[in-house]
Symmetry: D2
Subunit: 162 residues, 4 copies
């Protein structure tokens, strides 16, 4: 995995296979449980943008995007962004979310997740994400994610099934 376009392809496959539930053999993961309908809309070096319909299944009891679902989106999409800039996907050290506004759920409501790499060092990666309401562009959540890059868990060892 060396060229930019290969890394971009890896980031796309990463999200797709996790959401489809084929990332690891013979079992689904929380990504599949939690993030139905998440799709990649843009990939560049150090950046991945995704969209997800805000269905009941990811909302809270007020009918807006659940704080835990938003945190999960920060986690997963920033990790995809990291893959465009690093051979290692890392393990989470800290994750934080700031809830700026409520993201309404319901038919036609879509959340845009715009994730970026601030820096990849030798041992640590600093990532951030902004969640926006697609209909209006309003920022609804901002998040940060710090990962530790374990040299011995390269992403190429994770199989992406069909």
């Amino acid at each position: 995995m060396t060229t930019v376009s290969e890394r971009a392809e890896l980031a796309r496959t990463f999200i797709q296979s996790l959401v489809k539930g084929t990332a690891v053999p013979d079992r689904v993961t929380f990504d599949h449980t939690a993030l139905g309908g998440l799709t990649v809309t843009e990939v560049a070096e150090g950046r991945v943008v995704c969209e997800m319909p805000v269905t009941d299944k990811v909302c809270n009891r007020y009918g807006t995007l659940h704080g835990g679902a938003a945190a999960t989106l920060v986690d997963v999409v920033t990790t995809a962004a990291l893959l465009t800039a690093s051979p290692h996907s890392g393990v989470s050290v800290t994750l934080s979310a700031t809830y700026v506004a409520a993201m309404p759920g319901g038919p036609g409501e879509v959340v845009v997740v715009d994730a970026r790499v601030t820096r990849v060092g030798r041992h640590l990666a600093n990532l951030s994400a902004e969640l926006r309401r697609k209909a209006t562009g309003q920022v609804v959540v901002t998040g940060t994610h710090t990962k530790f890059l374990q040299a011995y868990v390269p992403i190429r060892n994770v199989r992406f099934g069909k």
Copy 2:
């Protein structure tokens, strides 16, 4: 909702109905999607302790508790703790998680979520949680959660179905 035991009961019902998917009429929420098997084991004023089996559905591709699932547990169980100390369940302002160690998934693996109220003020509530591996007692995640207490969204307006 005035006595301590009534509030404790409310916190129990809150978790149960969210996880069962009956908290709001005619739709499930992300709590039901994400947190299968979460149960309350202890309630006191300002504190709720829960347990959840760490099945594949809440794990990441490494087979350990997913960072997004852990963040969701911090969110939900601290909110239950808040209900033991406040008539308002609030809306999230910030949430953060520190991943201290990997929580293994698999048969028999259970995560303990120990949530506490640091302070309930007039407008804001400060909450924290510690996630531990039940088998060993090891701390795996620490989290903080700050909520804004909207006087106009009291918890009694949220229906808890059977």
Copy 3:
């Protein structure tokens, strides 16, 4: 305080008088203690940019910008940014800093603090800041700051001495 230029002027005066130690009568504050040489270089609605020389007095034992000084810069300059967008300066609810790279200290070394308002709501303000090394433009710290807007502590009640 209603026009944009009046608010920009207020943000400038806010920083200057705090750093000079004249913000409140007859006593200095931690801003004066900690942030010698901090000056405003740019003000727009929802944004304040400052610069500060990285002298020994704000460095750690490794000779780079101290984590506590960086956190103080996030706190103070985001508050100035808030003043360009709100009649209330608020009180801090949460503050976080991510240390992306070491900011060298020494003669000629200057840190740029670029603070922005993400959103001002009725009760809460969400702010962020990026600290960069002036010589290279490299991001060294990113920070977030959430404030509660107390209607009863308007900024106009704080005197700014000459």
Copy 4:
């Protein structure tokens, strides 16, 4: 530095020499600038407790402990706690503070800083602190601090002057 009592002594010396301004030859650091009067009151393995008078010099314009000073206390005292459990003092990765209540300044007002090690791993250390008002015991700030343990910057290379 191998025995517990040697490490406790190191933590005491660390705080004292930083605050006195003798930690590094021929220059003071931000610790000396910011934290006048900080003293160690208790040391155990994985824990350091300090006290500091809340003078004007560490207060904000409202006359209460400045958010930046509180963040600096979290940074410094958790680092001292780390020294009781690790040969490396680490570099900061993330630091966060939650402002639970205002800590009044003025004659006789003292803040207690109670810092603990949650876990020291091979590469990362997770630390936390609670700031309390000495007069009442009320929690005023909670903080977390994550450090990366650079094997090549052991604390024994930092000189502590007299």
